[in-house]
Amino acid sequence: MASAKTNTEDYLRMYRQMVRIRTFEDNANQLYLSAKMPGLTHMYSGEEAVAVGICEALTDDDRITSTHRGHGHCVAKGADFKKMFCELLGKAEGYCRGKGGSMHIADQSHGNLGANAIVGGSMGIATGSALRAKLQGSDDVTVCFFGDGATAQGLMYEVMNMAALWKLPVIYACENNGYSEYTRTEEIAAGSITARAEAFGIEAFRIDGQDVLAVNELAQKLVARCRKGEGPFFVELETYRYHGHHVGDINREYYRSKAEEKDWRENRDPIVRFRTWLVDQGVASEDEIEAINAEIEKDAADAVAYAEAASYPDTSEVDMHVYAA
């Protein structure tokens, strides 16, 4: 594993954030399976090192845009479990007062401009946020998360062109989990993904998205360079989603083998890898790790219970927020 120059506290926070994502998703999946969650949701489990490695290089002033698979980005950017579960259950105390749900969860307090249910739909938004930073002389950076499937959207090429022309402080982070819905990436993406950005003169990187330290080290460098006006950048992160495309995608052997899933889970799990490293390096003991895990599990259980008991928005809210005051 690559190592970044950070202290013990940073390492443990990164570990904690990854476990928080996994635990959040396990609980969300459970809510779906027990028919307590309205609609469907897309699990981020398996991709934790991507969101955490990148978001740990950001401050609350830095912005991100997220995707339909957005819980991981939201947690990694600092969101609160209670407000997130409330949103997933359509409750008034959710981040979007129940109006957005899983696919539109957003958390302005930590710079998360929101998940998006249109694949590629946030690429313009992220680039616009970066243009605003440049125009207003602000040194914040925007990270645009999107999947391999989203590289097929024309919008990406329009905005990368402008970002490169105008040297915008934006990082395009392509989470390549090998699939877009039920189709393998090779079948929907011709040529190399990083070459797409390079065609615009954008420096592009391809990296193991299961190695949180490597991701974080690269992210720190790129964020610092963006702040100096050297952006934009493009990063392709090789990763894997453990669950189906969404929680209801259970029988998926027709497009993805159990053996492949098992291999990623057992041999490349980002949390297990980092945990082993932490223990090996003497950053934390097994007991300390277990204590962290237990604390997070309790946090999540409490938040779920809280959200289940929370109230739905009052019916009068239905036509509130259509127009800004």
């Binding site: 609609g39 979007c96 109006k99 249910a117 249109i118 694949v119 189709t183 027709y254 239905v318 259509v322």
Partner: protein, 331 residues
């Protein structure tokens, strides 16, 4: 008669037309092995192969444009747009290119393609996966718009759409895919521009499209228990619109409510209501009412989402008022 689901009906229509016409092909995301997320196309790639059931990248404007070009040069593409909400991504290819080509070429070029997509809220899918956008395309001259309300309509209208020489947009109600209805085994087509009188009645006409036909029929049952006889009419295609059947009904009943799941304002309901006002004015005993989805983005929370779509109770309540002469002076 045998009963099949709306999903099976669409599947059969496509299979029959693809057997009949080798220039047809299906193009869209996850249409082949996956058979779409709603599994409507299951089995088609096994019969027709990947040359005629074509999986695309997530590139809606791209494959829509490709379909337009293929249609202009002798093929009959059937474009699969996974959610009706994605119409916003393909508007240029659909409305500036497909819709206008025949006219702009002085009638020399045709664009015989079908755009299959869906509509409907209350699936807890939030604002970008729940819209009913038929009014947007119905506004554009050159596009035909079909809105099946059951498996029977879904099959007959699809077959007609595929044989039509114009771009046709078909909106299926995504909540209805598993609903069964009697569908004949022998071949049939449903011509465009022919409304279907689902239920006869003398007191009030309920004109409803797609997902709202069931709502209107349930409202008619509620009303029947109270002695109000509602006539329920499904236009089946909103472009072309069977004005004559609608007008005849309204001349008989003197009252009408138009119900469609698109937003209330500037919508399909407004268009139909206004035609009735223009052409049956002297026969009306009450203003023609519009009932659409609330003018709000579809909210995720079930506590809010269910408020946004007309229900049988809402329709019955309005019908009751119209029949009692209560809304004549309504603003």
């Amino acid at each position: 008669m045998r009963e099949i689901t709306l999903s099976q009906a669409v599947n059969e229509a496509l299979a029959e037309e693809m057997r009949r016409d080798p220039t047809t092909f299906i193009i869209g995301e996850d249409v082949a092995e996956a058979g779409t997320p709603f599994k409507v196309l299951s089995g088609l790639v096994e019969e027709f192969g990947t040359d005629r059931v074509i999986d695309t990248p997530i590139a809606e404007p791209g494959f829509m444009g490709i379909a337009v070009g293929a249609a202009m040069t002798g093929a009959r593409p059937i474009v699969d747009l996974m959610f009706g909400d994605f119409i916003f991504l393909i508007m240029d290819q659909l409305c500036n290119q497909a819709a206008k080509t025949h006219y702009m070429s002085g009638g020399k070029l045709n664009v015989p393609l079908v755009l299959r997509t869906n509509l409907g809220a209350t699936r807890r899918s939030a604002a970008q996966h729940s819209q009913s956008l038929q009014a947007l395309v119905a506004h554009i001259p050159g596009l035909k718009v079909a809105m099946p309300s059951s498996a029977y309509e879904a099959k007959g209208l699809m077959k007609t759409a595929i044989r039509d020489n114009n771009p046709v947009v078909i909106f299926e109600d995504k909540l209805m895919y598993q609903d069964k209805a009697p569908v004949p085994e022998q071949e049939y087509l449903i011509p465009f521009g022919q409304a279907n009188i689902k239920r006869e009645g003398r007191d009030i006409t309920l004109i409803a499209t797609s997902s709202m036909v069931q709502v209107a029929e349930k409202a008619a049952e509620i009303l029947a228990n109270e002695g109000i006889e509602a006539e329920v009419i499904d236009p089946r295609t909103i472009v072309p619109l069977d004005e004559q059947t609608l007008l005849e009904s309204v001349r008989k009943t003197s009252r009408a409510i138009v119900i469609d799941e698109g937003h209330q304002s500037y919508g399909v309901t407004a268009e139909i209501a206004s035609r009735l006002n223009e052409k049956a004015f002297y026969h009306l005993d009450a203003p023609v009412l519009r009932m659409g989805a609330m003018d709000v983005p579809v909210p995720f929370s079930p506590a809010l989402e269910d408020l946004t779509v007309p229900t049988p109770e809402d329709v019955a309540a309005n019908a009751r008022k119209l029949c009692a002469g209560e809304m004549i002076h309504a603003a």
